[in-house]
């Protein structure tokens, strides 16, 4: 039996899911989009029930990515039952979607979530009456207190037992009658394409019906109790104070990430060292003696160090931070307070989260761009992360190189800031997104631990299944490239690098080496005899160039190879342009 959970944003679908299944077994996400669908299994009365948790939508009749994924799910997985999760506090608006879902003709249970919060606000809902009106089962539910849980489980089981009888259901049902008959339509007619954009008579009727129904079943008792959470929310929603608090939270997240990497790096390295020694020995002993074996014996242990000591703890902590900021209801508030600043870069205010995490470690920060509202914003944020934002490791080594050569720090900082603004500005103008700023601000709430755990598992599991294997393969390829001696031939281009960027060929090799490990590249500079001017140009070019290998792997995972190539092209041209311009304007 397959069950899909559908509801408006911020109604607590995931929280309901956590209550239903104490132990999520299967977890998957739809890569390539920011749409995550959590698949879980509920075992009850000897039956296995697959439950899909979908992202929040207001309507199944819109053209958004979420809607498409949900439609696909409904039609491909042979859904037997819809759990429509609605917010007891905003019944009228939520019921519009309910009426849309009823037209699908799939058996449905209406779960009125947050019934406890509604009571606190003095809203009473007559679930029995609602059940009679919409002719579906209705459960008054609270994911916080567990109210209605047994009732919901037994209802789902009951539907599961009737499964055989109900198969073949799913024929569209007309709930709202209008002149335009949607039943005889294949979805491509003028009527349908119009209804995606404009509000048709059927939409208005549905809204009216939802409003009537909500009015009939709701009673305001007027006992409004204000809790401290509401107080906190009022403070955070003040324009100036709220901005300061939210920026402090982002800074705190960055500090926590840094501290966590710092604390975990030592112990993990100590654990990894003997393991790597064994791996090297095994490869050298059991594989035939050849160049390939030499490369593998070096590349595999090498390829494990960075992923395990830095990427793994960073991904873990970033996953925790992302989930916390999402589940407390803080995330959309970043969009609101930083809307003006973000618009300079063509980004929403939420981008401050991945960008500030990027100063710690950029690899998981690329993953954190999932919290951005659309693909265009994700791409801009990933480019800024890859090309401009220096991670903590890069910053440390850059600082040491800057002092060694007495390179000009102001020039480097100004160059990086100007580049940041220019890239954001240019990209947002080349690929403009629809400038519609509409956000729902959920009430602040304390996250449910089980919910955090589910999300954490989902986001972190990618480290072992995708990030680590890809990194290993790429690390072997890089080692092979270095062993082949190809890089030594670059000396012949000294004339070109001198003329274009005013730096020697070795320094340009360091720029190219950023591909492999950005924070190793500056170390090569340390061995060279550079003037302050040459160092300033070379450091700027290194600081503004290509993403490091782990970031590339993560970029492929998040936006595909095409996206990565675009990022690389932008990074390379930025680096070259910066070199040329600095060479022209620096005295």
């Amino acid at each position: 039996m397959a069950v899909v959970m559908i509801g408006n944003p911020n109604v607590g679908k995931s929280a309901v899911l956590s209550r239903l299944t104490d132990r999520p077994l299967l977890v998957s996400n739809y890569s390539g989009t920011s749409v995550e669908i959590i698949a879980t299994q509920l075992k009850s009365a000897g039956k296995t029930i697959d439950i899909y948790d979908t992202p929040g939508i207001y309507s199944i009749k819109s053209a958004s990515a979420e809607q498409q994924v949900i439609s696909e799910l409904i039609y491909s997985q042979k859904i037997d039952l819809i759990l429509n999760i609605v917010d007891a506090v905003n019944l009228e608006r939520n019921l519009v979607l309910t009426y849309e879902l009823m037209e699908l003709g799939i058996p449905m249970i209406l779960v009125i979530n947050q019934i406890d919060r509604a009571r606190q606000m003095g809203i009473e809902i007559n679930c029995q009456l609602l059940s009679q009106i919409i002719k579906s089962e209705v459960v008054c539910f609270s994911a916080n207190t567990g109210e209605g849980l047994m009732e919901l489980i037994s209802l789902i089981e009951m539907k599961g037992n009737k499964e055989g009888k109900d198969k073949g259901a799913g024929q569209p049902v007309t709930i709202i009658k209008t002149k335009f008959d949607g039943n005889s339509c294949n979805g491509n007619c003028a009527g349908c394409s119009r209804s995606f954009l404009e509000i048709g008579a059927e939409d208005l009727k549905r809204a009216e019906k939802a409003a009537d129904t909500a009015r009939m079943v709701t009673r305001q008792t007027g006992s409004q109790s204000k809790k401290w959470m509401n107080k906190a929310q009022q403070i955070i929603d003040k324009p100036y104070l709220g901005t300061i608090i939210l920026l402090l939270v982002a800074y705190l997240a960055f500090l926590v990430l840094m501290k966590f990497i710092e604390l975990s790096e030592g112990p993990i390295s100590d654990l990894l060292a003997p393991v790597n020694a064994v791996i090297e020995k095994v490869i050298l002993t059991y594989l035939p003696d050849s160049i390939f074996t030499t490369i593998l014996a070096k590349a595999v242990p090498e390829g494990l160090i960075v992923p395990f000591t830095i990427i793994m703890p960073a991904m873990l902590m970033v996953s925790i931070i992302m989930s916390l900021i999402e589940d407390t209801g803080l995330l959309p508030r970043y969009s609101v307070v930083l809307e003006r600043v973000g618009s300079l870069f063509g980004l929403s205010g939420q981008a401050v989260i991945p960008l500030s995490l990027g100063f710690g470690c950029r690899t998981p920060a690329v993953m954190a761009t999932r919290i951005l509202p659309n693909q265009q914003q994700r791409f801009i944020a990933i480019v800024l992360l890859s090309v401009v934002i220096p991670c903590a490791a890069t910053l440390g080594i850059l600082a040491s190189v800057i002092t060694t050569f007495q390179a000009s720090l102001p020039v480097i900082i100004v160059t990086m800031t100007v580049t940041l603004i220019l890239i954001g500005y240019v990209l947002s103008h080349i690929m403009p997104a629809e400038e519609v700023f509409i956000y729902e601000l959920p009430p602040l709430r304390i996250p449910l631990w089980s919910n955090l755990w589910t999300k954490l598992k989902m986001r972190f599991s990618g480290f072992f299944t995708e990030v680590l294997p890809l990194l290993l393969v790429m690390s072997i390829a890089v080692r092979a490239l270095i062993e082949s001696g190809l890089l030594n031939h670059l000396h012949s281009i000294e004339n070109i690098t001198k003329a274009l960027f005013g730096i020697p060929a070795e320094a340009f090799v360091a720029v190219l080496l950023t591909i492999f490990q950005r924070y190793l590249a500056p170390l090569i500079l340390l061995n060279l005899d550079l003037t302050a001017r040459e160092a300033t140009i070379a450091i700027s070019m290194i600081a503004l160039s290509l993403p490091c290998l782990p970031v590339m792997v993560m970029t492929v995972r998040e936006i595909g190879f095409k996206g990565l190539f675009k990022v690389l092209a932008i990074g390379m041209s930025t680096s070259i342009l910066v070199g040329i311009i600095l060479n022209l304007i620096l005295p």
Partner: protein, 77 residues
């Protein structure tokens, strides 16, 4: 008067949406339709978003969108 001209604490009813297509559809989905009552919570500085309560939910709209929402208040200003 539009939503973007309102002051924090002010209440108003939606008169009409001066925009067609996708925008009015999305406003419709959040329940911002003629006749709906709303209360402005805050206006963010530098022409930032307008935050308001609608029903029991809180929403934020950018200035561009808020300017398309025509409202009327009881204060006759």
């Amino acid at each position: 008067m539009t939503l973007k001209d309102m002051k924090p604490g002010q209440k108003a009813k939606v008169l009409k949406i001066n925009h067609g297509g996708n925008l009015s559809r999305r406003l419709f989905q959040i329940g911002l339709i003629p006749g709906a009552e709303l209360t402005v919570i805050s206006q963010h500085p530098f022409k930032g978003p307008v935050v308001f309560e609608l029903g029991n939910a809180t929403f934020a709209l950018g200035q561009g969108v808020a300017g398309a929402v025509e409202v009327y208040t009881n204060e006759n200003k």
